[in-house]
Structure formats: structure tokens, C-alpha cells
Symmetry: C2
Subunit: 339 residues, 2 copies
């Protein structure tokens, strides 16, 4: 791992995206989100996904010039077709639109169909929080996880995001419905370590913490066993029905790769339409104090609120540079024509 | 365990509630929900909670004659104060109101503060589904679980519900943020069994499947470790802020017992305003088929959709009678003046 200044990471990704045929504004936005994702410590969905995104554009699985079009509107409920445009700009568009509705009506729900991989789901929660909005959003995916009790993959890991704006650091949850991502399994295997808790089943059908065994069986574990499995199914059905788009079962058949033609939901709420800053501050600070003051299981640690670790990583990487795998960095520089 | 016909369970609970001072209509509704909860197999929150509810009324922690009053309204966003009225009738009122808003505007969000224990959260998802609405709802609670990494309880288990209407059986998820309830620990201990997966930490700080060890340490496990812990925090903050009510930190101080003065959120969506029955049927049936056709880990089993098991239990208990603990049943009959 080497560290590269944020600006250089962003500019390099932007050049790669321009070379891939993205229009300048779209290339800049997508590059910013990828670079911010790495900067926040979510390395699997930042710089590391650039090559795959470029490949998807080349395969025709992402249409770099498609823009979302309105297909349904009723009050503060809207549905857009993403026409396989870039997942990042489609998702930002949808969250922005939900915020516009919420600015007027307190609440906005925008669903999006036929979109593509949004990279880190948390990006849209952070984005809304930055603008002062509370938000929920989620996506479905192709089948990448066996439902609880199953051997074969039949459900998505369907990341789910909730976020609340807060001056001293937004409160942001970004959770996929698998206990670990395949990215985490790979990183752990490469370090020759075990997972801290079982992350799937081995070929013999036993829970295991050894990443290679799960990568082989493809039986990754739903978070909370039956609970994450059922929540994944519900998020999928809500996304598909609300957007009149694909559910996981039809994303599987779409043939546009990872999350190609998937469905998403974006809900924004303007808390200042409902209550006031003093009330919100008190609620947030009382809850964060209760977490911070909990007796830790491990001496010398402190319980964190959702989003606290990302913010600390961000600040560290802003100061020291964004950690990148040297080989990945060289290949992205290659895509950017910088070698 | 003995089996008692549903009608007799319901009528007996209703008599107990009338004797406790509930008005006839409220007693009938609360009794129906308790009886249906037991009938659906959620024994911890049905007949088994009747004595505790009556006790709460006697303590003055539940005001049997309080009705929700509107405190905020903007378009399809409304907030009510529950004035410590019965949690069941308050929650049904809020979900009914969310459905009325959705009937007009496609979408309705009702938040409710100062309410009391709603018993089984799933009741409100089933209720909305029965009327043709998709729904999400959740509640906060007092601190009953240590956050991930903590020894002392600082967060609620904050049950979360999502439901979709379906002719052949609604699709309903009802999940608390703990891996198991204390009720499940007790039942498992009484059977002298172990939990199928670790449900908390023992006094030595190790994960354990032995219920008594967790009951002693009070270190029940958040579902999915850090994931369920963070989701509980977000659900709590959303409920408190949207209702301008208590978060878990202030429910802890309210002094009205389990879930006294808690906050809840009810979101209803009218899917027929957005799409049509054919599309919904196809999405549901494709997803359910994908689950049913997954290769099971255990031969001879079939993967179920969320809500499928409740429906099967309901039908079985409708045919054979509702299983009740004889001692509990005798005590409730006592409260009803039937002994």
C-alpha cells in the first residue's frame, strides 16, 4: 500500500473515465465519488472499482451518456428509469430529487429502475446529510448470497443506508445484508488471517471463519443469519415494486454484470420542516453520549456511533494521503494514459 | 401447553382488559391483537403479555383512556402524541392514518411519540397488508442490549417491520435488533436446550449459546454483531427525531416501564397508485419461486419467504386451537373473573 494525495487520486480516475468516453461533468462526479470512497476507507468500492467500471462501459453494460427519465409522479413520490446510465450519477440525481421534494413537502421518495452499480451506498447518505437531509436508501443486486437455509445463491446482499446530518460529523449507517463482503474475504485471505466471526459455510456445510473456504463454497453468510436474509428479500421486493423495475430474480437474467439494471429507493426527509435544530442536537448528543459512555468490553476502547470511524479514516487519509494498492494504482494510471 | 380455541382466548383476554378499566372497544381491539399474536406463534407477545399490560395500567404507566392527538401535519407527514395510551390502539391508529394519507397521496408517514408497548410489531405490517398497503414501521425501546463492543446496555432492540400484501399470504418481516429475545432465551433454558447460534456473551466475555449465561450477564447479542447494533441506533434516532419524542436515552429516564413513552414511525404506500396488480404479482411470485427453488442446505426442507411460517402456524392454530401455558392461562382467567 502506498499513499497518494486525494486530489491526485481523483484527477487520475477522472482522466481514466474521460478516456472511457464519459462526458466531462459525469467523469468528474464519478471520479470524486470513487476517490471519496477510498478516502473514507471503503477501499473495495473506490479506486479498486475503477477498472471494472471502465470494463462495463466498454462491454456496453453501462451507457455513459444515459440520463434518468421520469416515468411516474404523484405528489412527493417519483420514479425514474436510469437507462443503464452510470450508477453514481443516477443515484445522486435520485437523492437530489428526493431532497427537492422534501424541501417542499418535508418528505420525498424517489425510486429508480434500470440503473447500474452505485458503488458505495453510503455516498448518498453522506451526500444528503451534507445538504441537511435525513435519508434512507437501498439497492437490490443480482443473486450473490444463499438465502438462510439454502446452499445456492438466490438473494442479493442489497446494501441499506440511513443517515442523519450532524454538524460535528454525520451519523451514517451503510450495511450490506451479508456479514462480510467478498472484498473483505479476499483482503483477509491475502493477509493470511481469519475473519473475526464466521462469515459463511464451508463445503461441509459448517460455519467457518476461513475466507478461502467461503470463497470456494460461495456460501457467504447473511448478517444475523435468518434476519439479514429476510431483510434482503424485503428490500429487494420494495425496490422492484416501487420502481416498477427488476427484483433480484430478474436482475439475474438481465445480463449487465454486477448490479446491472438493478432497482433503488431514495427517501429524503427535511428535519427542519418537522422540528428544530435544538431538538435534533439534543437527541443526537444524548444518544452519542450514551454510546460513548457505555462500558467497553475491551479496556481502553470507546463505543462509536455509526459513521464515526469513516470520518476518522477520512481525516487521517486527508492528512496522509489515500492508501492505494500500488498495482491497482499503476493500472488506473494506465487507463488514464499517464504511463 | 394446552390448546384453547382462538375465540375463547380472545374473549378471556377481553374480559381481563374490561376488568382493568379499558373501554369496550379498546379492550376488544387489544384482546384481538394479543390473541392473534399467540395464534401466529409469537407466544412471547400475545397471551403471555396480558398480565404485564394489566399491571402497567394499574401502575399508571399505560393510560387506558388516552387517545392520540395531532401535533404536526405537513402534506403526507403527520406526528401524533400517544399520551401513554395503549400501545396497540395507538399503533393501529397511526398505521391507519398512514394508510389514509397513502390512499390519497400514494405515500404516508406518521410518527408517534409518548406511546407504550405495541406488543408484536408485525401486527401492524399484517394489518396494513390486509388492507392492501405496503408498509414499514419501527419502534424504539428502553436500553435492553449493549451496543457492539459494550458490556453495559445502552441501546434498544428496536423492532423493525416491512410488509407487502399478497393474496396467497402476505410477505411480512418482523425483526428485533437482538439476535434472540429474552423470551426465546427463557424458553430455551426451560427446555434445557442450547440456542442454535450464539446469542450473547457470558460473564467471561465469550460468545455463548447457553441461555442462562446470557440471562446472567445481560449481554444479549445484536443481530449481525456491529450491523444490528448500528441499525438499532439509526432506527432509534429516526423515531425520536421524526416524532419529536424520546430516543432510547430518554425512554430510559421516563420511568414508565418496558417501552413506556417510546417513539414509533409508520410508513404506508399504496402500490396500486404506482403500479398494477399484474406487475406486483409477477415480482412477488418470481422472488418466492427463487426462494422455494433454492437448493436447501438440509435435505427435505424448503426455503421460506418472510411471513410464510407465521401463516402456517396461524392455520395450524386455527384448526387445533392456540397453544397456551396452562399456568398463564389460569392467571389470565383469574384477571378476567372467570375463576
Amino acid at each position: 500500500m502506498i499513499r497518494i494525495p486525494f486530489h491526485e487520486v481523483q484527477k487520475t480516475i477522472e482522466s481514466a473515465f474521460l478516456k472511457a468516453g464519459l462526458a466531462s461533468e459525469i467523469a468528474a462526479t464519478c471520479a470524486r465519488i470513487h476517490a471519496e470512497t477510498s478516502q473514507d476507507g471503503v477501499y473495495s468500492h473506490g479506486l479498486n472499482r475503477v477498472e471494472k467500471f471502465v470494463d462495463y462501459v466498454q462491454q456496453g453494460w453501462v451507457n455513459p451518456s444515459a440520463k434518468p427519465s421520469l416515468v411516474f409522479q404523484l405528489g412527493n413520490l417519483e420514479t425514474y428509469d436510469g437507462h443503464l446510465g452510470p450508477g453514481i450519477t443516477n443515484a445522486l440525481f435520485a437523492m437530489d430529487r428526493a431532497m427537492e421534494l422534501a424541501r417542499e413537502m418535508g418528505l420525498g421518495l424517489v425510486s429508480l429502475r434500470n440503473t447500474t452499480h452505485w458503488m458505495r451506498g453510503g455516498s448518498y447518505g453522506w451526500h444528503a446529510a451534507e445538504k441537511g437531509f435525513m435519508s434512507l436508501c437501498w439497492t437490490n443486486t443480482e443473486s450473490c448470497m444463499p438465502a438462510w437455509g439454502a446452499q445456492s445463491a438466490g438473494i442479493g446482499n442489497n446494501p441499506f443506508v440511513m443517515a442523519i446530518p450532524r454538524k460535528e460529523g454525520h451519523v451514517v449507517l451503510d450495511m450490506a445484508m451479508s456479514q462480510y463482503s467478498y472484498g473483505k474475504l479476499e483482503i483477509t485471505r491475502l493477509k493470511e488471517e481469519e475473519l473475526p466471526y464466521p462469515g459463511g459455510f464451508n463445503a461441509a456445510g459448517e460455519l467457518t471463519s476461513i475466507p478461502a473456504e467461503i470463497e470456494e463454497s460461495r456460501r457467504i453468510l447473511p448478517t444475523g443469519y435468518w434476519k439479514g436474509s429476510s431483510l434482503a428479500v424485503m428490500l429487494d421486493l420494495f425496490a422492484g415494486i416501487l420502481s416498477q423495475g427488476n427484483t433480484t430474480a430478474s436482475v439475474d437474467k438481465a445480463g449487465y454484470g454486477n448490479c446491472g439494471a438493478c432497482s433503488q429507493v431514495f427517501i429524503a426527509i427535511d428535519p427542519m420542516k418537522i422540528t428544530n435544530q435544538t431538538f435534533i442536537d439534543q437527541a443526537l448528543e444524548a444518544t452519542i453520549a450514551q454510546l460513548h459512555n457505555s462500558q467497553p468490553a475491551e479496556k481502553g476502547t470507546q463505543i462509536q456511533y455509526p459513521g464515526e470511524r469513516s470520518l476518522r479514516t477520512r481525516k487521517e487519509n486527508q492528512a496522509l494521503g489515500v492508501p492505494v494498492h500500488e498495482a491497482v494504482w499503476e493500472r488506473v494510471k494506465g487507463l488514464a494514459g499517464l504511463k
